[in-house]
């Protein structure tokens, strides 16, 4: 609650947070708010420029681009949320366990994540798609697994920071078993920071999902996805450049909002992050600017 109150004081963060919530509201209600059926083809109305009836124009099959952008919001929100949960549900228990128990398991898991972090996540995701096949579920598994090392590290460092706390020692002294300590004491105390940190990973998930779909390795037509819509629109750049407007704006705005909201949420989790840096730099810089 304290985090939310501090977050509400950050106007820029709040602004982008509301935009992000707006995207999710659109995603949840997508079926009901699309003006036209996004799958309805009408070849006689193909590639029409934007008009009052079709705000973003129509694609080569005469489908309404605006409705498709709205439905794509739902597809993207679903993919990113499910794969984020996937990473959290697998990564957090592993990270927490190795962070608390330490020893060989910790060393092995850390070396493994070190090795995986050498490779860009998009590459790992592409390799996973080779096995699971290009589809919506394939993207979810690929993104979830490729981001797993990051989540293991986040949970591990969070568990490390609390495992020497008095209440943990008290629980150990009282004879609690380690699964009990992990679930009741450690998870309870690190869940807030982990949730906030995972919002910082959201933009990566969104860009990953649309990149895969752009390459043809993700969501398959006719299901709309921003990246996949841009891929289709690229073939009609000469006579229908307006097709790129909708998906490009939606995608960039979603990533921007997720980025800014995540940053602000992270700062409200740890106010020192913002205050400390500025306080330390300001006197030095003002001194410098005065002399130069």
């Amino acid at each position: 609650m304290e985090i939310l109150r501090r977050y509400a004081c950050d106007r820029v963060g709040l602004f982008f947070g509301i935009i992000l919530l707006g995207f999710y509201a659109v995603a949840i209600t997508a079926q009901w708010i699309t003006p036209v059926d996004p799958f309805e083809t009408n070849l006689s109305e193909g590639l029409q420029p934007p008009s009052a009836a079709h705000w973003f124009g129509t694609d080569q099959f005469g489908r309404d681009t605006f409705s498709r952008v709205i439905l794509a919001t739902q597809v993207t929100a679903k993919i990113t949320t499910v794969s984020l949960l996937f990473s959290l549900l697998i990564g957090v228990p592993i990270g927490m366990m190795v962070g608390y128990l330490g020893g060989i398991a910790d060393a092995v898991v850390m070396r493994l994540t070190d090795m995986l972090l050498i490779f860009p996540t998009i590459m790992i995701a592409i390799i996973i798609v080779v096995v699971v096949g290009p589809s919506q579920n394939g993207v979810i598994i690929a993104l979830g697994l490729s981001q797993l090392p990051n989540f293991i590290r986040i949970a591990r460092s969070a568990a490390l920071s609390v495992r020497r706390e008095l209440y943990v020692e008290a629980a150990v002294a009282a004879g609690a078993s380690w699964p009990d300590i992990l679930l009741r004491h450690i998870l309870h105390n690190i869940s807030g920071p982990i949730i906030v940190k995972s919002t910082l990973a959201l933009p990566g998930f969104v860009i990953g999902a649309s990149s895969l779909s752009y390459l043809g390795l993700g969501v398959q037509p006719p299901t709309p996805e921003w990246g996949q819509m841009l891929h289709e629109a690229k073939d009609f750049l000469t006579n229908a450049p307006y097709l790129i407007v909708g998906p490009a704006i939606a995608l960039s705005l979603f990533v921007l909002a997720a980025n800014m909201a995540g940053d602000s949420l992270n700062e409200s989790l740890d106010p020192k992050l913002k205050g400390r840096r500025i306080k330390r730099i300001v006197p030095r810089l003002t001194g410098r600017i005065a002399t130069s």
């Binding site: 590459m123 649309s210 990149s211 390795l217 690229k234 995608l251 960039s252 921007l256």
Partner: protein, 306 residues
């Protein structure tokens, strides 16, 4: 230092073995019959059976594994399912093309970010700094296929200044390098700015200023010199990240590089080619990581002494 280089090279060889084993398992974990895939969907069963025998796919897994590893050690990655050319012959030139794209983009990203980041730190919290910060934020938030398509539309289709695909003249380089390089520069600039703000706040900067050293020397020699260490790490991490982005950029601009080859081979289910691409990509990442690591130790001898 020599010992370290040797140890790292040994690690690379070991990583290569692990990777090949992983790729072999991957090849066999994929659902579907590989012999049927080579023969085609409508091929008669007798043909599929003969292909199975010719490729050794009817042997026990362990025998297949040892033959595969033996072949790879002789530089034989098999034939592409479609073009029937050796994988190594296809991958080689493609890797070079990717290196050209990534090299120029990296050069652009480094020079732009060092310049903008330093200027931004110099004019901290003034309009120039705000502008640079906004640029880097937009760059970070826009995926390269969005900027790429916008670029193709404005400079290729609308103004007709630049070609939209291929790599036969210097003009073909402009858009891919700008798209990939500037996207990377956006992330780098943020880091350079933070490192420079930190460095410019140190005491030796005040001392230099007190001695009357010109401001330009202070920023670019004393400031940048001391900020360089963390910057090298970010650049190194960024280079790996950019090679990933190159796969997307190559698909946008029809660049005949390894990334596009990999994506195409996955889409056509050409497994030997996919295996080759993944192997060479992964080895490139490991090599880049090794070079950055050595560079870092050279720049900061304190680490080598640990």
């Amino acid at each position: 230092m020599l010992k370290l280089v040797l140890a790292r090279l040994a690690f690379m060889v070991a990583a290569g073995f692990v990777l090949l084993t992983f790729l072999f398992c991957l090849f066999h974990a994929i659902p579907g019959d590989p012999a049927r895939l080579i023969a085609g969907d409508s091929a008669p069963e007798a043909l599929v059976q003969s292909i199975r025998q010719a490729y050794g796919l009817d042997q026990p897994l362990l025998t297949q594994y040892t033959t595969y590893m033996g072949r790879v050690l002789h530089g034989d990655f098999g034939l592409s399912n479609f073009s029937r050319q050796p994988v190594l012959q296809i991958v080689g030139p493609r890797l070079l093309n990717t290196a050209k794209l990534a090299g120029w983009s990296m050069l652009l990203a480094m020079s732009v970010s060092l310049l903008l980041g330093s200027l931004s730190a110099m004019y901290w919290d003034r309009p120039l700094d705000r502008g640079v910060t906004a640029f880097s934020l937009v760059g970070i938030c826009t995926p390269i296929f969005v900027t790429g398509i916008l670029g193709i539309y404005f400079f290729g289709v609308h103004l007709r200044w630049l070609p939209i695909g291929g790599m036969s003249s210097w003009k073909h380089y402009v858009m891919p390098v700008l798209t990939l390089g500037l996207a990377q520069a956006a992330g780098f600039t943020r880091m350079v700015r933070a490192c420079m703000i930190d460095a410019l706040g140190r005491d030796f900067i005040t001392t230099a200023r007190a001695k009357g050293v010109p401001e330009r020397t202070i920023v670019f020699k004393h400031g940048l010199g001391n900020a360089l260490l963390p910057i090298i790490t970010f650049f190194g991490l960024g280079l790996g990240h950019m090679l990933g982005g190159a796969a997307v950029a190559e698909s946008i601009f029809n660049w005949p590089g390894l990334g596009r080859l990999m994506v195409d081979s996955i889409l056509t289910r050409d497994l030997p080619l996919t295996q080759g691409c993944i192997f060479f990509f992964a080895m490139t990442f490991i090599l880049v990581n090794l070079i950055v690591d050595l560079l870092y130790r050279w720049a900061d001898p304190r680490i080598a002494n640990d």
